[in-house]
């Protein structure tokens, strides 16, 4: 006697897809992709201290971005379902959206070749599609449940994550102590990636900084100010804490240590409201840790483009081309996105930088909202940063914009003009003379020196370290003074809290007030700089060999590379730093002195031990 055979399931391909099925499958697919992406970013950042370059409210932004992307695919599929009168099977539609969702999630793992990611995504999609269609009624009930629960939970999670930041400022301001009656406002303007050598303030042939040239007559200008790091995150971290970059800990992968006291925290103790307005969202955003203590901090903008950019699909080469192809004059990108598919994801998922005028506008909007309380505002401008695209025609201001450096100079000129607007508006409001303005750059840029084209972060050569520093502090810093001895931006932190009324020693470093009062810098911090080891270096990057340490005195610039080799340049006379004097009899004694100086500054022996990438 033969056993009864199990019932043969209805072949899945025979179940046709309805119009509603298409929408539900698209929404559920988007929800699953967004949930995986959000979970990945939360685990990476919160558990493993890894930058993920996303907005605080990423959960709902990602949800919105994935929904928009998936629904864009759903529209033609829905049209096909209508035209072909339900001859498209549910299994095919479900497989498509499941594959899209799986592919979007797999793109997060960038160590797999894009076509392998695509194959795996399709494979997963085929299986999930078959599973849904096997029992269509039950499968679609689950799809609808996933869609509804996912939309609600991700949306609420995103809003909740941003609620404290978005709505908590009145409470934070109310909790501040009463400030001193004579406490000045402090405005720190950071020109990202602007080297002193390309500013007319420092003798550059092009009039890139006419506003600062004029402001110099009312200010103290430091002719030789040096950044403590050749790129944004460690330089900002040092300026906001007063510790050296390796002590701060911020590098290419993760944030600074969360135990370090910050400028904003110290100023809050003295009643200051504080606002950060950062165009460089990736490496000066909240994830770096420098936002700690600010009562208000703006980095990633909120926009539809940002929402789309929050998806892995938009971060692929083709995704970016599709997005950019919708802009006027860039229709060719649409063709390229389709004809030359590129699924390589862009490694640093950064937001489009806001132009300096927007940053200034946001600052004044905040300033209007906080009332008469003294404030500390930090504004970061990115218009001179790669890709060197300053707005308002500034890109063609010099030499018709023929060369990349013409655009760079245009970016500097644009930022200079916005600084002029800020100064004018403060003057119109009658608060310029009770506001200290500090103009600085976090680091410079290389333009072919030492074979390093339009780049930073990868060396400690002079173009990256020599930065502008101008202080307009009426009644404090001598107007029209130029200080020609060397200073380190490490002392910015001590200077800011000193201006806010904190006693010496509140933060590491020495206030530059000592220098602008006396014209002498011998009591300031030593000029030490550190570059962390590269991640994915180019073969020409000096940081490919490991972290670099350097120090300067009034004559010499010493550099110690990751492989133990050393360089010593007489930087005052050898401005291009081509003549390495480290091995000369004179140089050997100087090298010994600088090794000891770096060891003392970092509180270590020699060579300093590795700390992460530093």
């Amino acid at each position: 006697m033969t056993e009864p055979r199990p019932p043969i399931p209805t072949p899945a391909r025979r179940v046709p897809a309805g119009l509603a099925d298409v929408w539900w499958l698209a929404i559920a697919g988007a929800v699953v992709a967004a949930a995986i992406h959000v979970a990945y970013t939360e685990i990476s950042f919160r558990l493993f201290d890894r930058f993920t370059w996303v907005n605080r409210e990423f959960a709902w932004l990602a949800l919105g971005g994935y929904l928009a992307s998936f629904l864009a695919f759903a529209v033609p599929i829905a049209a096909l379902v209508l035209v072909l009168r339900r001859r498209i099977s549910l299994r095919v539609v479900a497989s498509f959206f499941a594959a899209l969702s799986a592919f979007a999630a797999i793109l997060l793992y960038q160590k797999i070749h894009p076509y392998a990611q695509l194959a795996l995504g399709i494979g997963v999609g085929v299986q999930v599609g078959a599973w849904i269609a096997r029992d269509a009624a039950r499968g679609m009930r689950r799809v609808r449940a996933i869609a509804l629960v996912g939309v609600l939970s991700l949306g609420l999670a995103g809003l909740a994550a941003g609620a404290r930041h978005r709505f908590g400022e009145p409470g934070r301001l109310a909790a501040l102590p009463t400030p001193a009656a004579d406490a000045p406002n402090i405005v720190l303007l950071i020109m990202d990636t602007v080297r002193a050598a390309n500013m007319s303030l420092y003798g550059y042939a092009r009039a890139t900084t006419p506003v600062l040239d004029a402001l110099a007559h009312e200010s103290t200008v430091f002719d030789w100010a040096f950044s403590a790091a050749p790129w944004t995150a460690p330089s900002h971290a040092s300026m906001m804490t007063g510790v050296w970059p390796s002590e701060a800990g911020a590098d290419f992968l993760g944030p600074m240590h969360d135990s370090l006291p910050t400028v904003a925290e110290q100023l809050a103790k003295r009643g200051y409201a504080s606002g950060g307005f950062m165009a460089n969202t990736g490496y000066a955003g909240y994830q770096v840790g420098i936002a700690r203590g600010f009562t208000h901090y703006e980095d990633y903008p909120f926009s539809f483009e940002q929402a789309l950019w929050s998806t892995t699909l938009a971060q692929t080469g083709s995704g970016r081309n599709l997005m950019d192809g919708l802009k006027p004059g860039q229709r060719w990108r649409l063709r390229q996105a389709i004809l030359r598919p590129n699924f390589h994801t862009i490694r640093v998922r950064r937001a489009e930088a806001q132009p300096a005028a927007h940053i200034a506008r946001n600052f004044f909007a905040w300033r209007d909202a906080i009332g008469p309380r003294p404030y500390f505002a930090m504004l970061n401008f990115m218009d001179a940063h790669e890709p060197y695209e300053p707005p308002d025609g500034f890109s063609k201001r010099f030499n018709g914009g023929k060369e990349p450096m013409d655009h760079y100079d245009g970016g500097i000129a644009y930022e200079d003009s916005v600084i002029g607007t800020i100064v004018s508006r403060l003057r119109e409001r009658g608060e310029l003379d009770r506001t200290v303005i500090i103009v600085v750059a976090d680091h410079g840029e290389q333009w072919g020196e030492h074979g390093l084209a339009s780049s930073h972060a990868n060396s400690l050569y002079m173009p990256l370290l020599h930065v502008p520093l101008l202080v307009r502090a009426p009644g404090r810093a001598t107007a029209g003074q130029r200080i020609s001895s060397i200073v380190s931006l490490r002392d910015i932190a001590a200077t800011l809290v000193d201006l806010g009324g904190a006693p010496p020693g509140t933060l590491p470093g020495v206030s530059l007030a000592n220098a602008w009062s006396s014209g002498r810098t011998d009591k300031q911090s030593p000029v030490v700089a550190e570059a962390c080891a590269a991640v994915n270096p180019l073969p020409t990057d000096p940081t490919r060999l490991g972290p670099i340490k350097g120090s300067l005195d009034s004559t010499w610039h010493y550099i110690h590379y990751g492989d133990g080799s050393e360089a010593l340049y007489a930087w005052r006379t050898d401005r291009e730093e081509l003549d390495n004097r480290a091995a000369t009899p004179e140089g050997r004694a100087v090298v010994e002195r600088h090794r000891a100086a770096i060891g003392r500054a970092l509180g270590t022996g020699w060579p300093p031990p590795r700390r992460g990438l530093f």
Binding site: I106, Y109, K111, I112, H113, Y115, A116, Q117, L118, A119, L120, G121, I122, G123, V124, V126, Q127, H344, N536, P537, L538, P539
Partner: protein, 44 residues
Amino acid sequence: MYIGPDSLMPLASVFAAIAGFFLMFWRRVVGAVKLIASKFSTKH
């Protein structure tokens, strides 16, 4: 020539591609395996 993470196809890619292929054509793969197995199996 510069060889870095971007210019190498790691082993994970090969595994991912194979897994994707099997997932896409699972029924056919299983069917083919069964067919081959039945050819070689002893009939009673």
